[in-house]
């Protein structure tokens, strides 16, 4: 009897609690809606302006072309509240928004004047059509890093100082966006140049050390010396190749093998290497020379302590739609905080541009999900994991 009563009480209690919770939430929401402060009319106008400007920004950030100008002009005209608005580059009208497209021919003259003077101006737009609302034109220059890159032309029905002021300010804002676009572009170029730099880069130490090691075999073991020289030739040929940003994993592993053969000639038995490769992933395409720097890193860490031998394990395995390559050494390892700083580019790595550059390139090609994963600690060795999707649009080993 008491059991049933208790159960009923508990059930009622739970129900009441739930109902109260829901009621409370509803009340809170309604109160929030009523009490929402939308600001004064001036503030609201400011918000509106900022919002419109933010909509115009993304197309402009891609640079000044017909397509982006058209999209931006559509947003900028409400901002100025004019009948018509045109964006031009140094030679031609890129986009015309609003009425009176027949004025587009005049614009060329204005732009020529602005280009010559570098200053904005306000002129009477002579129009044969008495019904045409476009009477005055305000021309404001758009400037980039290398001077005037184009002009913003706003048309009004009468001469107005407000329109002149507003058009000048908007043109200045557009200029800033265009400069940012140029900045983006130069950053992309920088990364491309960096990749090119990494590709061409075999460490000079490596060349010197390899040749010295080979020289030491010339008398004692000429056959071995010849083999090593051929490995050296093959390795440099592969590394210096000029075409293509991508290579097959099989070719990359071959280059690593040659590299290790040369390193092994120098360090002898102190360098022990194990390879575990699933044959399924050999055809995977990945960025050119993105594994060799990691192996070089492992060799360096492993042999830093000059007394002990170094064991390096390179494994490539199949994981469904991805290939996973791990490079592991049992060397001196690294402080994770230092490594984090190095990868973030805050601190120059003592040895070449290895890890951060590979990380950057992988992220650039495959997105941030595919950066390097490094597990390390001081005196705990280091394990670097690279994940590569088997297919990614735009990644081809032989660009035509």
């Amino acid at each position: 009897m008491t059991g049933t009563l208790l159960a009923a009480l508990a059930a009622t209690g739970t129900l009441l609690l739930a109902a109260g919770f829901v009621l409370g939430r509803l009340a809170a929401r309604r109160e929030g809606r009523d009490g929402l402060d939308l600001g004064t009319p001036v503030e609201r106008a400011t918000f509106h302006t900022l919002h419109t400007a933010s909509l115009a920004a993304p197309p402009l950030r891609a640079g000044l072309t017909e397509d982006t100008a058209r999209k931006a002009a559509r947003r900028l005209r409400p901002l100025l509240g004019t009948e018509a608005l045109a964006l031009t580059d140094r030679t031609a009208v890129l986009a015309w928004d609003g009425t009176g497209g027949h004025h587009a021919e005049q614009v060329g003259e204005y732009v020529a004047q602005v280009l010559a003077s570098g200053r904005g101006q306000s002129v009477r737009a002579g129009c044969a059509d008495p019904g045409c609302p476009l009477r005055w034109a305000v021309i404001a220059p758009l400037t980039g890093e290398e001077g005037v890159v184009g002009a913003l032309v706003a048309y009004g029905s009468h001469e107005s100082a407000v329109l002149v002021r507003a058009a000048t300010e908007v043109a200045r804002w557009v200029s800033v966006q265009l400069e940012l676009a140029e900045l983006d572009l130069s950053r992309t170029r920088l990364i491309e140049a960096e990749i090119r730099a990494l590709r061409a880069q075999i460490s000079p130490h490596f060349v010197y050390n390899s040749l010295a090691a080979i020289a030491s075999f010339v008398r004692t073991d000429p056959e071995r010396a010849r083999e090593l020289l051929l490995e050296f030739a093959d390795f440099t040929r592969y590394s210096f190749r000029r075409h293509g940003d991508f290579a097959q994993l099989a070719d990359e592993l071959r280059a690593i093998e040659q590299y290790l053969a040369l390193a092994g000639a120098r360090f002898g038995d102190r360098l022990q290497v194990t390879l575990q490769v699933a044959p399924e992933v050999l055809p995977v395409t990945l960025p050119f020379l993105c594994l060799q720097p990691l192996v070089e890193n492992a060799v360096k860490h492993g042999l830093e302590d000059s007394r002990r031998t170094c064991r390096i394990t390179i494994a490539a395995r199949d994981a469904g739609a991805e290939a996973v390559v791990t490079i592991e050494d049992d060397g001196v390892g690294m402080d994770p905080d230092v490594l984090r700083a190095v990868l973030a580019g805050e601190r120059p790595q003592s040895s070449g541009i290895g890890l951060p550059n590979v990380d950057e390139r992988l992220r650039q090609v495959y997105g941030d999900d595919y950066g390097l994963v490094v597990e390390t600690g001081i005196d705990a060795g280091m394990k670097v994991t690279v994940r590569v999707p088997k297919y990614r649009a735009g990644v081809h080993r032989d660009p035509p």
């Binding site: 030739a233 390879l275 575990q276 050999l282 055809p283 469904g320 032989d398 035509p400």
Partner: protein
């Protein structure tokens, strides 16, 4: 049949698969004598792997069952399953490899540069994968039921658990070796007993299988009917009955059933005298899945149509099977992919010589299977019938092991493909963990369906997956590779019209919604109309939207068709060793 041997064989196959899959034949050496780059998968090994993954329950059990039921017309199945690779070899293999695509969705994206086409292709990959997984699970259930008397959902659940576990735990690490092993296992498991069976058959004065007349019982046979069936007799038949026939209960009495339809309740045992004709099972109007006899008791026109439907579906459907397409990625280049396909043709062709032998022998020695609806079990029961004794049991165990290899290999390949696509394109975000989540999902849906839908002959059910694949991916692949004016809207429209129509028809048939007669035949064998529909829509819409031709088309097509060495690889002079 002694269950111990069979169970041991099944357990051994499962253990070997999991072991090779997880530990793998790893290549592990030091650098001194080892050139890893030259160790790519050779065409012979890859071909064995493709064959191993391809030869499913439909091939191992289903074809023999259909030949037993319906005679030599069913030989189009093995012919079609093999000839699909010929089409693949000629039209698709090398360009598909050169495209760099791993899955069929990747190919759609690479060729048409559109995420929408990719999404749609992914949906079809998942659909075809599920349609194909379903009969694998049902076949596993049937096998275990015949072998051990376990309930028929148990085998499917076992396969589902093993495969999901192995795939989710880290993929099949060395899947090429596992699948190649499975191929040779399946071939051995079918070839060795076949030799014994044929020897026994010759020793029995080589009786002829008659396909033009009803089969006859060679000796006194009791048949237990597990599901209620309706028998159509065209002559009076004298049998002993314990159970209920035509709502009259008998207890082991001899009785004569007159001409016409008779309803035999579940659980009844019929004893047929030696020389009696095996009664035909008649399609039951209450049983929505009774459509499977479509090729037998129907007018000649429909029969011919159905045969063409089968031929089109199997010839053109092979290229769109998700688990076959991904295997080509393992080839180092286009030429190797082509050579691989050639070897596959040989291996698969050799394998398909065997199931018809079982079918014909089953018609002679186990005709009652046609009555009970377990024709797919013909392969499994024959050794016991013909050879008997310990040898028969051991051969039966070998066949059971082979059958399980068939379920495991095809199911794991399909599950990996479906889970990969689910994780990458269908579920909201990407990542390794999502692959683990996607695996159970990839398996759960067909497992659930396999419990709901029963009684479809395994080979027929696989034929449905082929029909959908032939109507969707065949146009996409063939036009994508050979026609430069294909556009993304065209591809989408073609996939939806051809593949969508085939899928709808197939689903409606499986759900029993198709009316009898011609509509039923049209919907059960959609390939004849849905493949041209897919092609025409794709071509028509592409021609209507010429502005949407992807900008990279010339470059893509050049990459698909030129041998790898020709593009962008100038050899520095004197660099050869």
């Amino acid at each position: 049949m002694n269950q111990t041997y069979a169970m041991a064989a099944v357990a051994a196959v499962v253990a070997a698969t999991v072991l090779i899959g997880s530990l793998g034949l790893r290549i592990s050496r030091t650098t001194s004598d080892f050139y890893v780059a030259s160790r790519s998968v050779k065409p012979a090994l890859n071909a064995a792997a493709i064959s191993g993954e391809y030869l499913s329950a439909a091939s191992f059990l289903g074809i023999a069952g259909l030949v037993l039921l319906q005679g030599p017309a069913m030989l189009w199945y093995p012919v079609g399953y093999t000839a699909g690779y010929l089409v693949l070899l000629v039209l698709v293999a090398a360009p598909l490899r050169r495209s760099g695509a791993y899955t069929l969705s990747d190919f759609a994206e690479a060729r048409l540069e559109s995420p929408y086409v990719r999404r749609l292709a992914s949906l079809f990959v998942v659909g075809i994968g599920w349609l194909y997984l379903l009969p694998q699970l049902q076949g596993a259930g049937l096998t275990l039921e015949v072998l051990t008397g376990a309930p028929d959902w148990f085998g499917g659940l076992l396969v589902a658990l093993v495969v999901t576990g192995a795939v989710a735990a880290g993929g099949m690490r060395s899947i090429t070796f596992v699948q190649a092993f499975q191929y040779w296992l399946k071939l051995t498991a079918l070839l060795l007993p076949a030799l014994f069976l044929v020897t026994a058959w010759v020793a029995d004065d080589a009786p002829r299988a008659r396909f033009d007349a009803p089969a006859v019982f060679r000796e006194h046979t009791s048949v237990r009917v597990d599901d209620t069936v309706r028998l159509a007799l065209d002559a009076p038949l004298t049998v002993t009955v314990s159970g209920t026939v035509d709502s009259t209960t008998y207890d082991g009495r001899r009785t004569t059933l007159g001409e016409g339809l008779h309803r035999v309740e579940a659980g009844t045992t019929l004893g047929f005298p030696s020389g009696a004709r095996v009664p035909e099972r008649s399609p039951d109007p209450d049983d929505p899945l009774g459509w499977s006899g479509s090729l037998s008791g129907e007018p000649d026109g429909q029969r011919l149509y159905a045969t063409y439907g089968l031929i089109l579906a199997t010839f053109l459907g092979t290229m769109g099977l998700p688990h076959v397409a991904v295997r080509f990625y393992t080839s180092p280049h286009g030429r190797a992919a082509r050579r691989t396909t050639l070897v596959v043709l040989g291996l698969v062709g050799a394998f398909y010589l065997l199931p018809p032998v079982y079918g014909a022998l089953g018609r002679i020695y186990a005709p009652e299977l046609a009555l009970t609806g377990d024709a797919d079990a013909a392969v499994l029961v024959l050794p016991d019938r013909l050879v008997g004794g310990l040898a028969g049991e051991l051969l039966g165990a070998l066949l059971a092991g082979g059958a399980f290899a068939a379920f495991l290999s095809t199911a794991s390949g399909l599950t990996m493909s479906v889970a990969g696509v689910l994780g990458q394109d269908v579920l909201p975000s990407r990542g390794v963990r999502h692959f683990r989540l996607a695996t159970p999902l990839a398996m759960a849906v067909p497992l659930g369906l396999s419990v709901v839908a029963t009684n479809v002959p395994v080979a027929d059910a696989v034929g449905l997956a082929f029909a959908v694949s032939a109507s969707s991916f065949c146009p996409l692949l063939v036009l994508g590779i050979w026609w430069r004016r294909l556009t993304p809207p065209g591809a989408v429209a073609g996939l939806l019209a051809g593949g969508g129509a085939a899928l709808t028809a197939v689903m409606a048939t499986r759900a029993g919604l198709a009316p009898d007669g011609w509509p039923h035949t049209l919907m059960a064998w959609p390939a004849v109309w849905s493949v041209p529909l897919g092609f025409l829509t794709m071509v028509g819409v592409s021609l209507a939207t010429p502005r949407h031709v992807p900008p990279g088309t010339p470059a893509t097509l050049a990459r698909l068709h030129l041998p790898e060495g020709l593009i962008g690889r100038p050899h520095p002079e004197g660099a050869e060793r």
